[in-house]
């Protein structure tokens, strides 16, 4: 009797530990990938950031400069310009996409084949490669033969040289970011709207609330947590995006559409000034992390009240 119980316990323990071993083994390949392709390069990048290292001049770092690279970056005019451009492009494109996406989600909300079809069409840019979107818009915006200026010409307006002037180029990049980014907001807000019970809106209608008031007081508060997440997703994706600037303007004319991503890419992988690029990328990282923390904080606060 006694032996059979201890045997039971022992076998049960053995059973459990073997199972846990199996589960642990399941995680190992993913762990290896994350450590090798993410954690290790991140650490490596910190090390590079403190070095004076231009790959075209030497195969290894020439000397340690401590925080010198960071100081140089922060006082660099191109960095400040890129930071400003990133803030402008992300700020405008995200706010416009969010308003537009939310509005479209409301308009296509009701059931029926027409709304269904509209939603399907409206989310197409989501699966268009950003590189292709940039290329496509570069053709559209061509001052001589592009569709935009051809149409403007037909109604008697002399279209601007979109990508050749600094303000117009900045507007163009923002427009393309809106084209790419709006579908995601539409999709997420549509999904959030379906979770709002109809009875709530009917009750409001009976109480005499018009469409706008019920949006403001019932739906908007309910979708706010999702809206915040959508803003964060869009803001970070737009901030980090390299593809559109790369294919539309190559940062030009001059430095007028240099963004942080483009600046770091250019410094690191074209000029091969690795130390400077790594330091700049860590400053960029701090900005992105702040944005992330801020959204989660706002979301947590909103849900508590």
């Amino acid at each position: 009797m006694v032996t059979s119980i201890t045997a039971g316990i022992r076998s049960r323990r053995w059973f459990l530990s073997k199972e846990r071993l199996f589960f642990a083994a399941c995680v190992v390949p993913a762990l290896i990938v994350v450590v090798a392709v993410q954690i290790y390069p991140l650490g490596f990048s910190v090390w590079i950031a403190t070095k004076d290292w231009v790959l075209t001049a030497s195969d290894g770092p020439s000397r340690s400069v401590g925080l010198g690279n960071f100081r140089d970056t922060l006082s660099d005019d191109t960095f400040r310009r890129s930071l400003r451009n990133s803030a402008i492009i992300t700020g405008f494109s995200v706010s416009i996409s969010v308003i537009l996406g939310t509005a479209l989600a409301f308009f296509t909300r009701a059931a029926g084949w027409f709304n269904q079809l509209s939603r399907t069409i409206l989310i197409v840019p989501l699966v268009v490669a950003p590189v292709a979107a940039g290329t496509l818009w570069r053709i559209m915006l061509n001052p001589r033969a592009g569709l935009i200026n051809t149409m403007l010409d037909r109604i008697g307006i002399d279209g601007p040289i979109w990508l050749g002037k600094s303000t117009e180029a900045l507007i163009s990049v923002t427009v393309v970011e809106i084209w790419i980014g709006t579908p995601f907001v539409l999709l997420v807000i549509s999904a959030a709207l379906t979770t709002i019970p109809n009875t709530l809106l009917e009750a409001a209608a009976i109480d005499g609330a018009n469409r706008w008031r019920s949006f403001l007081h019932i739906e908007l508060p309910l979708i706010t947590p999702v809206l915040l997440i959508a803003v964060m997703f869009r803001a970070l994706d737009s901030l980090l995006s390299l593809d559109t600037v790369f294919t539309l303007t190559q940062g030009g004319p001059g430095f007028s559409t240099y963004t942080l991503s483009y600046l770091i890419y250019n410094t690191g992988l074209r000029e091969f000034d690795l130390g400077a690029a790594a330091a700049t990328s860590w400053i960029f990282m701090a900005i992105a992390a702040t944005l992330m923390v801020l959204t989660f904080w706002l979301q947590a606060r909103w849900q508590r009240t």
Partner: protein
């Protein structure tokens, strides 16, 4: 009204791109430029497909996307199953999830430079393996995170019944749980395929010639001269069209995967 404007704002550029890809080269130079081609031609496509460079771009992209998706789904499913059943302390699990989300959102240019150096050291530069490994670094944590939530939401009773029947962890995954999480796995693999097919930053940093993929090919048309618009548009269509068709085909899974993070996370 707004809806109509929005729909044309999405559709017009895509149709215009397609029209440009079937327009004879000479028409790009006419003044005023034609919008609709006067004669339909497939010269840009036939030229593109007979160019060994373009077929290599296509082959590389298919290989990178296929291998990345396959490996991600297998590794991610196992990792999510393991993580959800290890009974880790909540704090640990929270930390793991935080790391995964961080990887999704931090500026990727930070790791691209050291990654490039590491691949150079390992002599993997300009191979599709460097691109695939780079993509796995993004997709594996993302898919693991997504499936972790799916596994955690399954009712415990089903699994307990299987344990009583004497099914080991592998049999439970294979015969009991996998059929239940299959829709989540499908959504995850679709998202992975899109990401890998369209990814530009990592691919362009490690593949300078032989291993180039379609995004790099499309981005390399930097010239603004009208004569190149035909081939450029044709290549962009070749890149975009399969993804749009694929997206329409798997729309439901795609949407559930995309909205998942925001609505549940």
């Amino acid at each position: 009204m707004l809806l109509m404007v929005a729909i044309s704002w999405v559709v017009v550029p895509l149709v215009y791109l397609f029209l440009n890809s079937i327009k004879p080269s000479l028409e790009f130079l006419s003044t005023p430029p034609t919008i609709f081609p006067s004669k339909i031609t497939f010269e840009h496509y036939s030229k593109a497909f007979s160019d060994p460079k373009v077929s290599r771009l296509f082959k590389n992209t298919v290989l990178v996307t296929g291998i990345t998706t396959l490996v991600t789904v297998v590794v991610g499913t196992f990792a999510a199953y393991g993580l959800s059943r290890l009974r880790l302390p909540a704090k640990w699990l929270g930390f793991v999830v935080f790391i995964f989300l961080f990887i999704r959102f931090y500026p990727r240019v930070t790791t691209v430079i050291p990654y490039f150096l590491t691949m150079r050291e390992l002599d993997l530069l300009d191979t599709i393996w460097a691109i695939i490994l780079g993509h796995l670094g993004i997709t594996v944590p993302f898919v693991t995170w997504l499936l972790l939530i799916v596994f955690n939401e399954l009712p415990k009773e089903i699994e307990e019944a299987a344990i009583i029947d004497g099914a080991g962890p592998w049999a439970r995954l294979r015969y009991v749980l996998f059929p239940l999480v299959a829709p989540g796995v499908a959504a995850a693999s679709i998202l992975t395929a899109f990401l890998s097919w369209n990814e530009f930053l990592i691919a362009s940093s490690v593949a300078r010639r032989e291993a180039q993929t379609l995004p790099i090919g499309v981005a390399s048309f930097v010239t603004d001269q009208g004569v190149h618009w035909g081939p450029m548009s044709a290549l962009a269509v070749v890149m975009i069209l399969p993804m749009i068709l694929f997206a329409l085909l798997v729309q439901r899974h795609l949407i559930s995967g995309l909205t998942f993070g925001a609505v549940k996370g």
